[in-house]
Structure formats: C-alpha cells, structure tokens
Amino acid sequence: MLKVANALIAVVGGVGGIIVLFWVLNTLVERLPEKWENRVKPYVFIGPAILAVTIYLVYPALRTVYVSFLDARSENFVGFANYTVLATDRAIRSAIFNNVLWIVTVTGVSVSLGLIIAVLADRMSPLGERLAKSVIFLPMAISFVGASTIWLFVYAWRPEGQGQIGLLNAIWSGLGGEPQVWLQVSTGRLNTFLLIVIMIWLQAGFAMVLLSTAIKGVPEETLEAARIDGATEVQIFWRVIIPQIASTIAVVSTTIVIGVLKTFDIVFVMTGGNFNTDLVAVRFITELFQFRQFGRAAAIVVVLMLATIPVMIYNIRQFRAQEAQ
C-alpha cells in the first residue's frame, strides 16, 4: 500500500510540476513591459523543450564524440586508438557483421512479408482484413523483453528422453532430430537467425500497416486502366503498384534499418551476446559496464551516430522541401 501511495504522490508531483512550471514562467513574463513580454514569451514556450533536448541529446552527442578520443577512464587523449580497436578487434567485428546480417534480413523479410500480407488482406472481407491486421500488428505493442520471453519458450530445450516443452524442439524431435540448445548453435549463424525471427515477428506488422495505407492509395482508375490493357494481376503488382508505393517502401525500410541498428534488448536478454550473437548496441553496454572501457564504448556510439547521418540529412531536406511549398 505504501508503495502505491508513494507512486501516486510521485505521479501527481511530476505531472503537477510541469504544469506549475509553465504557469509560473508565463506569469513572470506577463509582468514584463509589453515590448519585452512579446520578445521573451516565445522562448518561455520553447524553453523547457529545448533545454531537455540540449541536456539529453545535443550535449551528450558532442561529449560522446570527445570521450571517444580519450582512454578507458576518460583521462588521456589517445587519438583514434579506440576506432582502431573497433576496426581490428575480432569480437567487435563479429558484432558488426551480425548487425549487417540483422539489418539486411530483418528489413528485407519484414518489408516483403508486410507487403504480401497487405496485398492479400486487401482481398479479404473488411472484417477479415481488420482482424488479420490486428493479429499481425499486435506484437508491435509488446516489449522486446516480453517478446524475448515468448520466443525463449519456443526455443526451450530439454535433454533427450524428457518431454520437450519448447515448440521448436518438439517439432524437431518429432521429425526424428536430436533436441538442440538452439540459441547456442552458431553454425551458419543459426542462432543469430533465430533471434532475427523475433525482430521480424515484431516489425512485419509495422511494415504491413504503412504499406497497406499506400496500396489503398493507388487510384482505382490506374488499376482498371492496366486491367483493360490486358495486364495480369502479377504484372499490375510489379509494374503499377510497386512504383506507386516506392516512397513508402523507402520510408518503412529506413525506419526499420534505424530500429535494427540500435537493437539491444532481444540479444541482451536471450544470449547476452554470447555464442557469436553479439550486436553493436549490446557490445556498447558490455564495454561500458563490464569492461569499463568508456573510450571504446563512446567510439561505438559515434559509429552508430555516423550510420544515421544520411537519414538525418534526408529528413532535414524533406522537411525543407515541404516547408518551401
């Protein structure tokens, strides 16, 4: 009970605090002479928001770049030494390789699956379509840790002879195979692919929803015209629908790529990055907390940041073009 009361007080305090903050700031500004009031007020409105991004994103980004040129304890300048380690350390290179594998597979499969489901569901009854989409989309609401638990159970292992309680091993031994500790099988990076399955399970719904919107936006007349010209449904899909929704495919793909780039929870919870399943964002935590290598951890983040810069530039350009209209 005490716990609940404490939490309640915290919530009221937090929510009330921000309201009071704006009210007080506004009251103070309104006391200024009118000319000054008008000058200062916009900054009062944007102030807390800008302060928050400055403290939590801008300053840390700059500081992290700086720290990446310092040693493990951020005391001495070491030049590019941390980056050299990133390029040469076998474990880190393996993590980078896995990241590439994740990015390519998750993005490719999620987008294709999302597209297929969107096209197929479009031909069902409205109620059926709605239900189907909800089912595929549901994992989007679940946490990575929750999803990891679900799939840990699917991959669960029991020694041969005991009843298998994990679905995969049950099917596998049903087919005559020997029960496997799947997450430790790194032959052909099988365990990495089993982890990738989870991310696809989570992301396909997202791709489906956005692509479905785009497909429904293709004008019916265009499709009719193609049909009258004798195009088959397959031709219509590749030559009419795909080009029309190309920009949505690009947006969905970029969003998934950036999401995958930062994937952490699934691997952290399921294998801790062992058995060749490590990822860059997991490695970052390992370097930071386990090895206390602040410089190297910072260098990893800088690499992540560099990877997102093209998207950042693209977003800003898009925004500018939109505003110019």
Binding site: G14, F22, R130, A132, G166, E220, E233, L304, M305
Partner: protein
C-alpha cells in the same frame, strides 16, 4: 482578456491528415476480386495469422498451468486435455516475487514520462507554429535532425551528470530522460498538426484579446486532441516497454520497472517457466489493453512517427 474564443466543434478530425492518416485499418477499396483468388488469399492470411499467434498463445496457456505441468509436458497437450491442472498460483507467486512492485513502478515511471514531454512539446510546437522569433527556423531544423540520433549517445555523459546531481535511480531522473529522448518526435508531430490549423482561427482569438497562454490552453489543446492522443500512446508504450534506459538510469534498486524485473527473472530463474510465462503476461497486460482499446490512435502515431528511428 474579455472574451475567450470558443473552439469550433468537430472540425478537428479533418485536419493534418497528410501527417496523421488513418485509412489503414478500415478496408474501403473495391479492388477485391471474388472466387478462387479470394479464397486462396484468405487461406494464406489465416495461415500467417496462426503462425503469428502460436508463440503468444503458448505463453498464455502455460502461464495458467501448474508448475509440474508446465515443466513436464508441452502446452499443446492442453488441446487434448483442456484446462487440466489450471491455476492462478503462478501469478500470485510472481507478483510477490517483485513483479507486483515493479508493475506499480512502471506506472509511476510511464505516466509522468508521457505527460511531461507532451506538455513541454505542445508549448514548443505552439511557439514554432504561431509565434515569430529569431532562431525559429534553426531550432526547428535541429529538432528534425535529432529525430534519428540513437539515444545511446546520452548514456556516457549522463551517467556522470546524474552521479554529480544525485538523481541516479530516482523517478525524477528517468522522467526527465524520457522527456529529453521523446521530445524531438513530440515537437515534430505536434508542430506538423498545429501549423496545419487555419490561421484565421488563431488570429481571431488573438484579436479578441486572448493572450498566447490562453489561446494555447483554451483553443489549441482542445483542437489538437487527436495528435496529442496519438503521441501519448506512442510515448506511453515506448516508456512502458523500455529496458535500456531503465537499466542504465534506474538501476536494479527498489524502483525497477516490469521490463527489468522480467529480464532479471529470466537471468535468475530461467528454467521456471511457470513464473516466466506469468511474469511476461503481467508485463504485457497494459500494452495489450492500450493496443486493443486505442489501436486507431496508436497506428496514427506510428504512421506519423515513422521518420524516427
């Protein structure tokens, strides 16, 4: 200060549609065909849906089975002997093993971590949309640029900063962190929505003598409810489901949230599937509820927020 403008009724749902599109869920098109093609499509979709549901279903069923049953036989045997050995004990046990406290903590983290950024972002979005001031352009471009910055950048500097200020492990510390990280997307979405309102509405309020503060509360906030709701759901689920930030800034102490508690359970009692399954479900109840009751807003938010990483 004399008259306060009344917001026009029901005009709000139509605005800002180029950003907040919601045609997705309702199929309105007529390109469906009939006959074999349709049946084949339906069969394929049903098959995929089954594949998608089975893992979660297995977890749900197992969470109600007695410990010996969960550990002794596959959950699918329940289709042969339904409801044998069902119990709620797993839930009571895992709630007492710290999941209950973590659940309360998650609420205490997620509610303010949703409200604070929304309010701060709404004020900023209003200023970016309807006030003129030097630096407006530059600051907003900065916000757009920050949309995709990986939040890992924050941790090394923040660990030190939080240590110095002394807010490591506190609710306040994690609220502010989520406020900072959620802010670019919040400002971006709300500003897109607010700036698409007709200029006359805002100006008539100003002519009537309402201050910006009044216009904001009495006109802009009510008109922006769809966008506010979309972002609120996105942010709430994001905070509720977050493990990384909680792990680093909240630590393993008494304030830990459900995702941390579940991850710890996997680490310490990885073979106790009766507890893990029940624990996982406790961590998912709130997101599932939000998903099923507010799916429309959730999808709007996701669609609009797909610029973010």
């Amino acid at each position: 200060m004399s008259t306060t403008p009344t917001p026009p009724t029901h005009a709000d749902d139509q605005r800002g549609t180029e950003v907040l599109d919601e045609r997705t869920i309702v199929g309105t098109e007529s390109k469906r065909r009939t006959g074999a093609g349709k049946r084949l499509a339906t069969a394929a979709v049903v098959f995929i849906c089954l594949l998608w549901t089975i893992p979660t279903l297995g977890l749900l069923i197992s969470s109600f089975r007695a410990e010996q049953a969960v550990k002794g036989s596959g959950w699918w045997t329940q289709f042969v002997t339904p409801f044998s050995n069902w119990t709620l004990e797993n839930y009571t046990e895992v709630l007492e093993a710290g999941m209950g406290a973590a659940f309360v903590n998650s609420l205490a983290v997620a509610v303010p971590a949703t409200v604070i950024p929304i309010l701060a972002a709404a004020f900023a979005a209003y200023a970016f949309s309807w006030m003129r001031f030097p630096g407006r352009e530059v600051l907003f471009v900065m916000i757009v640029g920050l949309l995709v910055v990986p939040l890992q950048v924050a941790f090394i500097p923040l660990l030190r900063l939080y240590g110095d200020v002394g807010i490591t492990g506190t609710f306040l510390g994690i609220w502010l962190a989520h406020t900072g990280f959620g802010m670019p997307l919040a400002i971006y979405l709300l500003r897109n929505y607010m700036s698409s309102m007709p200029r006359e509405v805002i100006e008539s309020a100003r002519v009537d003598g309402a201050s910006h503060f009044q216009t904001f509360w009495k006109l802009m906030i009510p008109l922006s409810v769809p966008a506010l709701a979309a972002f609120a759901i996105l942010q709430f689920l994001w905070v509720w489901n977050d493990l990384l930030i909680a792990l680093i800034l909240l630590g393993g102490a008494e304030n830990r949230v459900v995702t941390q508690a579940l991850a710890a359970l996997i680490g310490s009692r990885g073979q106790d599937w009766h507890l893990l399954t029940a624990g996982a479900f406790i961590s998912m109840i709130v997101p599932m509820f939000v998903f099923f009751s507010l799916q429309r807003y959730f999808i709007r938010g996701l669609t609009a927020g797909s610029v973010k990483g």
